[in-house]
């Protein structure tokens, strides 16, 4: 149930558990800049349920994925706004 898996966040390996949402995994890893807003401020999840789009990140090279709506998979590559 708490099987450990590895994902890659902005090029660094992060250990998380299977079944965790990408948003929760990134928050636990201390990520605050899921995206950078037009005005240059960092943004992170607000609604947690796919409405606000504040948590959007690039997952396996597909941009604008809502981190709260995806579940981590082994080897998943996530690029946040901090890496841009």
């Amino acid at each position: 149930m708490t099987e450990r898996i590895e994902i890659v966040v902005d090029g660094s390996t992060v250990v998380t558990t299977r079944g965790t949402s990408v948003a929760s995994a990134l928050l636990d890893a201390g990520v605050t800049a899921f995206r950078v807003s037009l005005g240059g401020s960092v943004r992170a999840p607000l609604c947690g349920m796919g409405v606000c789009y504040e948590c959007r990140v690039t997952i396996d090279d597909v941009p604008h994925q809502r981190a709260c709506m995806r579940t981590v998979e082994p080897g998943m590559r996530i690029d946040t706004g901090a890496g841009e």
């Binding site: 149930m1 998380t16 558990t17 299977r18 079944g19 965790t20 949402s21 948003a23 929760s24 995994a25 928050l27 636990d28 605050t32 800049a33 899921f34 807003s37 037009l38 005005g39 401020s41 960092v42 943004r43 992170a44 999840p45 607000l46 609604c47 947690g48 349920m49 796919g50 409405v51 606000c52 789009y53 504040e54 959007r56 597909v62 604008h64 709260c68 709506m69 995806r70 579940t71």
Partner: protein, 420 residues
């Protein structure tokens, strides 16, 4: 070329209302398809993951849904839907795939989202909606040792405080904006329903060392790259600052009525108007759950059952109708107890960002404008969330009614929008 699928009843949303509608319609012999954006059916209240198994009531309904033969399309959202012939034609994006669906009837079980009212600092990381925090917790977020402030309104404050402290968070304060007297009268009415009262007492016991105050609300959140403190204010003007790592804000729920509005369903006070069979003003379109009035899981289930049967051409079970009317009355009492105080409409100052997608500040929005003018002049409401957050906020802050709904209903890939 994309194949067009066909069904008798298309159910939009797989929370309790959608699950009950789909199962009931399929049990009546209809071919049913349910589309839902999440990875698995359950909606927000029955959200589950390997970290949080679904509750017993949910397991029973999920089993019934599976046994009914209704097809569930997860991670699928309606991008556009229109009336075609004597039915409907829907454009759906499932993961990254374009799906076309013809249906003879539609049940809208689109649920609700949280209302967010802007206040200084609300764009900081680690400021969440209370339902959002609960969703993240259920999907594996760790809160052990974190200092949490919960501020806002409604019956979710206590259960979320309880689940956060159970997960190891230190809940510093639970602040309910409604005056104590109003909530107490409501709570007194709850004692007539022993089970609910027992639940409330258990929740209270779970975080007894946490102060639970009334007539107190959020004034501002502070921090640099992330939240470090909040300021709360009470009805006597008393202000105090609390150091914290997480803020859960709760300003009630907003029904998701975008698909209903696109289909021309009549609204009343922001909710979809339905008749005794959950039929909307738009022929062959039914609606159940929060979009018809915020009422919680019990009301959603019974409305869903009635809507599902009606969409499949069957009349409702008399016991369901009685139950719906009873639960609806209870929901209205709850709504009145937690009505938002007018001070919450003016928490934002001129420099507070209102539209988070386009970084539009309140001071940029001339009060004499309409929603449409605000869009044209500042792009407020034109970003990725398509006004779902700032639109509901500006309805409160500026008394601006929502703008017309147009497809695409949500951001979609170009390949989804363009036929091959």
């Amino acid at each position: 070329m994309t194949a067009t699928h066909a069904c008798d009843v298309l159910v939009v949303g797989a929370g309790p209302a959608g699950i009950a509608a789909a199962a009931n319609a399929a049990e009546c012999g209809a071919r049913v398809v349910v589309v839902d954006e999440a990875a698995a059916p359950g909606g927000q209240i029955w959200r589950s993951s390997s970290h949080t198994p679904p509750p017993r009531a949910a397991r029973r309904w999920l089993r019934r849904l599976r046994d009914s033969g209704a097809a569930v399309e997860s991670r699928a959202g309606v991008v556009d839907v229109e009336r075609r012939g004597d039915g409907f034609h829907a454009l759906i994006e499932r993961e990254h795939e374009r799906v076309l669906m013809n249906a003879r009837a539609i049940v809208l079980a689109t649920g609700a989202r949280e209302r967010f009212l802007p206040f200084p600092g609300w764009t900081l990381p680690n400021v969440f909606g209370i339902g959002g925090a609960q969703a993240l917790l259920k999907s594996g977020m760790t809160v052990r040792g974190k200092r949490v402030v919960i501020a806002g309104s409604g019956p979710l404050l206590l259960p979320v405080a309880a689940s956060l402290s159970h997960a190891g968070a230190r809940v510093v304060l639970v602040a309910e904006q409604a005056p104590a007297g109003r909530v107490m009268r409501f709570a007194a009415a709850l004692w007539r329903r022993p089970f609910t009262a027992l639940q409330a007492a258990r929740l209270r016991a779970a975080f007894m060392r946490t102060p639970y105050v009334f007539g107190t609300w959020i004034a501002a959140a502070d921090g640099d790259e992330r939240l470090t403190s909040v300021e709360v204010v009470d009805a006597d003007g008393g202000r105090r600052r609390l150091a914290c790592d997480v803020l859960c804000a709760a300003f009630g729920l907003v029904p998701n009525v975008e698909v209903a509005r696109l289909l021309g369903c009549e609204l009343l006070d922001g909710f979809v108007r339905v008749d005794g069979q959950q039929a909307t003003s738009s022929a062959s379109v039914y609606c159940a759950g929060e979009p018809t009035g915020i009422g919680g899981v019990d009301l959603a289930l019974v409305e869903g059952a009635i809507a599902g049967r009606a969409a499949a051409g069957h009349s409702p079970a008399p016991a369901d109708v009685r139950r719906r009317n009873r639960v609806r009355r209870a929901a209205r009492e709850l709504d009145a107890a937690f009505a938002l105080r007018p001070e919450l409409r003016s928490l934002a100052d001129e420099s507070t960002i209102v539209c988070r997608c386009e970084d539009v500040r309140l001071g940029q929005l001339d009060p004499s404008w309409t929603t449409r003018q605000a869009k044209l002049y500042t792009r407020a409401g034109m970003g990725a969330c398509q006004g779902r957050i700032c639109g509901a906020a500006l309805e409160c802050v500026r008394s601006w009614p929502p703008d017309t709904v147009r497809p695409p209903l949500r951001p979609a890939r170009v390949a989804t929008l363009l036929p091959e």
